[in-house]
Symmetry: C2
Subunit: 205 residues, 2 copies
Amino acid sequence: MTDKNIPDIVVSRLPIYLQTLQHLSRQGKTITSSQELGEQSFITAAQVRKDLSFFGGFGKQGSGYDINYLSARIRQILKVDRIWNVALVGSGDLGHAIARYPGFAERGFHIRYVFDNDPAKIGKMIGTLPIISTDKMVEIIRQEGIMVAMITVPSRAAQSVADQLVQAGIKAILNYAPVALNVPENIRVETVSPILQLEHMTYYL
Amino acid sequence: MTDKNIPDIVVSRLPIYLQTLQHLSRQGKTITSSQELGEQSFITAAQVRKDLSFFGGFGKQGSGYDINYLSARIRQILKVDRIWNVALVGSGDLGHAIARYPGFAERGFHIRYVFDNDPAKIGKMIGTLPIISTDKMVEIIRQEGIMVAMITVPSRAAQSVADQLVQAGIKAILNYAPVALNVPENIRVETVSPILQLEHMTYYL
DNA sequence: TTCTGTGAACCGCTTCACAGCG
DNA sequence: CGCTGTGAAGCGGTTCACAGAA
């Protein structure tokens, strides 16, 4: 089910649908249509139906999609029907903001460890989590079998951190540093690039 | 020059090239090739050449591209060869982290005002910036002619903030709230969606 | 010779349009 | 009758391959 040659761009829209479905659900709706789901996701209805059809027929012809059922199926497909333990590397302002933001845990991404290489920070707490030395990072991540990490260290340190994470067995990295990370093919990296997004928009101003 | 029907996807790669060029420049390089620029940006050499050719011939056949010259031209195209004043709405953890992060100013995005609707926060300082009541937001933004804003308020408040920003004359919004914002066609919105990025990656694990 | 700039071929995603099921 | 699921058509971005400039 996981990989039947589904276009990556289709997979990237599933989280959007999921977000919109939760939004509709919070409004008390139980049924939706490709029309409604599309409008609220800014995606055409035909696109929505095509995307979902890659994974099977989730709708009922004539009536539409059951919101709870469709949400559950998409969560299964994306493997977010479970808890993911996450390691956070970098305890600067951004690291703090992320560690204290409840939104990740609400979606099943539980930050379990915070690492930093600054001796002055080791042992200090962020909420209930102690800041741990990066010296122990590889060992802990491997031991705990953690597969997902976030990087919020300065750019110059990001590649070296990524290398260590790969060595520790991390399989998915969310990178907040404004650099392109080099990792083996079987490791997923997504970069959060607000500056590039701003630069993209100014073109049109 | 700004809009000669350049595909949006091409524009979205220019900031990546710019980032890589700065990286190459910091390494002391002065000349590069579509090959090298592409490898470090994880984009094919043909794609790099094709993208740049939309805007004119910036390279020298046989030798390659002058890094300083190409950087300057891309900055012109993206209109990041100037200072952009930015309004930040929301002074929670994330707002604080953004306001204190020097990276935006380094790229020409200067955060000039921070707004929040929490009376307890009004008047407190973030660095050198006072937190200002959202009651004054529309007036100040309009008066100062600010065109770029960032939203870091909770999801439930984001659409209402966006509406006010549009009313105030904002033309580009960088949205950190996990919701799809509805704005008029002539306003640009980009959403920072780390959670969707994580959900995208877990599909492949 | 090297590497850019670019028409043309290719490929893959999007949109269309309708059959078919509830 | 309404809305999904889907083959087929359409379209746009990517890759190819080479002419041509330095």
